[in-house]
C-alpha cells in the first residue's frame, strides 16, 4: 500500500548524518525517556547478585563485588526504542556477555541457542545466543560515567544496542540458556520475538 500524502504536513527532516543513523520510523531525541511496565525496583547492592544458569546444570552467581571485579568495557552506541525515539552515542560501562559466558563455561555451563534474561519485578526477555555474543551485548552498570540510575535500570541492565531497547532489560538479575526461543514479557504481549530496528521488527508478525 502506498502511503497517502498527509495534506499540509512538511515535517522536520533530520540532517543527512542523523538520517543515515535512524532506522525506519525512528526520530532522534536528546532526552533519555524512561519506560517500564511497573514500579521501579530499588535493590540494595548488598542484596544484589547476578546468576548465569542453564537447565540441568548448576548455576554461577556473582555478588556485586565479584561482578565489579570482572573486566569492564566502555561502550558507545546508538539506541533505538520501539516507541520511536533513538538516541545517538550513548556511553555505558559494563561487562561483556562474552566474559560472563566464558566464566560460566569454566564452571561447566554449556551455552544453548537462546537465552532469557530475568529481572527484578518479574520482567523477562528472550534473545538468540547469537545476538548476545561476539561483542554485541553487555550487563551495563554505568551510564555517562556514573552508576546506572534505578529509573534507567540500575544497578544493572542488559545492553543489546543493536536491537530495540526493550531487549535491553532493566534490573537484570539472571541470564538462562534455553534450547528454544520462548517469548518474554513484551514478546508475549504482541511485541516481536527478535526486534531488529533496521528491519522495523516492532510487533508480532512484522517481517
Amino acid at each position: 500500500m502506498t502511503s497517502p500524502i498527509s495534506r499540509g504536513f512538511r515535517g522536520r527532516r533530520p540532517n543527512a548524518g542523523a538520517a543515515a543513523r535512524l532506522p525506519p520510523g525512528q526520530y532522534e531525541t536528546h532526552d533519555f525517556p524512561v519506560l517500564s511496565a511497573g514500579p521501579t525496583p530499588h535493590t540494595p547492592l548488598a542484596k544484589w547478585s547476578f546468576t548465569l544458569g542453564a537447565r540441568g546444570a548448576p548455576s554461577v552467581t556473582w555478588s556485586w563485588d565479584e561482578f565489579e571485579a570482572l573486566p569492564h568495557e566502555t561502550i558507545t552506541r546508538d539506541i533505538h526504542c520501539v516507541t520511536k525515539w533513538s538516541k545517538f552515542d550513548t556511553v555505558w560501562t559494563g561487562v561483556s556477555i562474552d566474559t560472563i559466558i566464558a566464566a560460566g563455561a569454566e564452571k561447566g555451563i554449556a551455552p544453548a541457542p537462546y537465552v532469557v534474561a530475568v529481572c527484578d519485578g518479574g520482567y523477562t526477555t528472550n534473545l538468540p545466543l547469537a545476538d548476545v555474543t561476539g561483542g554485541k551485548a553487555w550487563i551495563a552498570v554505568g551510564y555517562d560515567d556514573k552508576p546506572l540510575h534505578p529509573e534507567h535500570g540500575g544497578p544493572a541492565r542488559l545492553l543489546v544496542p543493536h536491537l530495540y531497547f526493550w531487549k535491553s532489560a532493566k534490573w537484570v538479575r539472571e541470564l538462562h540458556f534455553r534450547d528454544h526461543d520462548e517469548p518474554g514479557f513484551w514478546e508475549a504481549l504482541g511485541y516481536h520475538m527478535r526486534g531488529d530496528p533496521w528491519k522495523e521488527q516492532r510487533y508480532t508478525g512484522d517481517a
Binding site: G11, R12, P33, T40, G121, E182, Y203, T204
Partner: protein
C-alpha cells in the same frame, strides 16, 4: 509458541479519516476517526500514527486510544507538545475529512476490562488521562450491576482547571455513578475558592484517596515520568503489590513511553 508467532500476520497500516475534531483544551484536541477494517481494541491500548510529506518523508508516533472498545470510531486525544513535529500537525493543521495512517491496537499490558474486576484505581497526570479515560468509558458502558461490582476512582492531576481534559464528561460520569469517584488536583493555578487538592500527587494524597491495600485494587498510573515515578514508588511504600501497579509514561518527546 514459536510457530504461532511465525504465522502471525503483521498489524496492518490502515487509513483513518477525520470524522470530527473536538477541542478539549487550548493545547489538546480529540480526533474522531473512521477506520475501515479496525479489528477492535482493549481499553488502554495505543496506535502508531504515520505521516507522509509530499516528498515521501515519513515519521511515526504512538498515541493512546481514548474511545472504549466497541465504539464505531476511534478517538485519539492529542496534546500539542512544545516543538512537537507530529503533535503540532495533528492539533493545529489536521481538518475534518483529512486522512492519517495508523496501525494497531498495540500493547497488552496497560489494559483493563470489566472482566478483570475491581476495584479500579486510576492515577493520571495531564494527557496521561487518555488511556484511563478509555477504561472509564468502557466501564460506563457496562450493565449497572457489573459497574457497581467494579467501583472505580480516578485521581487526576492537571496544571489548572482550564487544562483539565474531559472535564465535563468526567463530572457527568461521576454525577451519574455512585461507584465512581473523580478527585482532581490542580498543581499551578487552582481557582480562588478551590476546595480540592492543589499540589502534585504525593504519598499522603494517594493514601487518602486509594482503597486500602487489603482491597487489592487494580492500579493504573499514566503521566509524565516524575508523576509516574512518584506515584508508583509511594504506592509500593503503602504496601500495594508491585505487580498490581501498571505504569505508562508519556515521555517529553511525545507518545506513550
Amino acid at each position: 509458541m514459536t510457530g504461532d508467532v511465525a504465522e502471525a500476520r503483521p498489524i496492518a497500516w490502515r487509513i483513518g479519516t477525520v470524522h470530527e475534531i473536538i477541542a478539549e483544551t487550548s493545547r489538546v484536541r480529540t480526533l474522531v476517526l473512521d477506520v475501515p477494517g479496525w479489528p477492535g481494541h482493549r481499553a488502554g491500548q495505543h496506535v502508531d500514527v504515520r505521516l507522509t510529506a509530499e516528498d515521501g518523508y515519513q515519521t511515526e508516533r504512538s498515541y493512546s486510544i481514548a474511545s472504549p472498545p466497541g465504539d464505531p470510531r476511534i478517538s485519539l486525544t492529542i496534546e500539542r507538545l512544545e516543538d512537537g513535529e507530529v503533535s503540532s500537525y495533528l492539533v493545529d493543521e489536521l481538518r475534518e475529512g483529512d486522512t492519517v495512517e495508523l496501525r494497531g491496537p498495540i500493547g497488552g499490558h496497560f489494559v483493563w476490562s470489566v472482566r478483570d474486576g475491581g476495584p479500579l484505581m486510576l492515577v493520571g497526570g495531564g494527557s496521561g488521562i487518555v488511556p484511563l479515560m478509555a477504561m472509564l468509558r468502557h466501564r460506563a458502558s457496562a450493565p449497572d450491576g457489573v459497574r457497581r461490582a467494579t467501583p472505580a476512582r480516578l485521581l487526576y492531576s492537571s496544571r489548572s482547571w482550564r487544562e483539565v481534559i474531559y472535564r465535563d464528561e468526567l463530572a457527568h460520569l461521576a454525577d451519574t455513578d455512585d461507584s465512581l469517584r473523580v478527585i482532581h488536583t490542580l498543581t499551578r493555578e487552582p481557582p480562588p475558592s478551590w476546595p480540592g487538592y492543589a499540589r502534585r500527587i504525593d504519598r499522603a494524597m494517594l493514601a487518602e484517596v486509594t482503597w486500602p491495600a487489603s482491597a487489592h485494587p487494580h492500579i493504573y498510573v499514566c503521566g509524565g515520568t516524575p508523576l509516574v515515578e512518584t506515584a508508583a514508588k509511594a504506592l509500593v511504600e503503602l504496601d500495594y503489590e508491585p505487580t498490581s501497579i501498571r505504569t505508562e509514561r508519556f515521555g517529553p518527546t511525545g507518545g506513550p513511553a
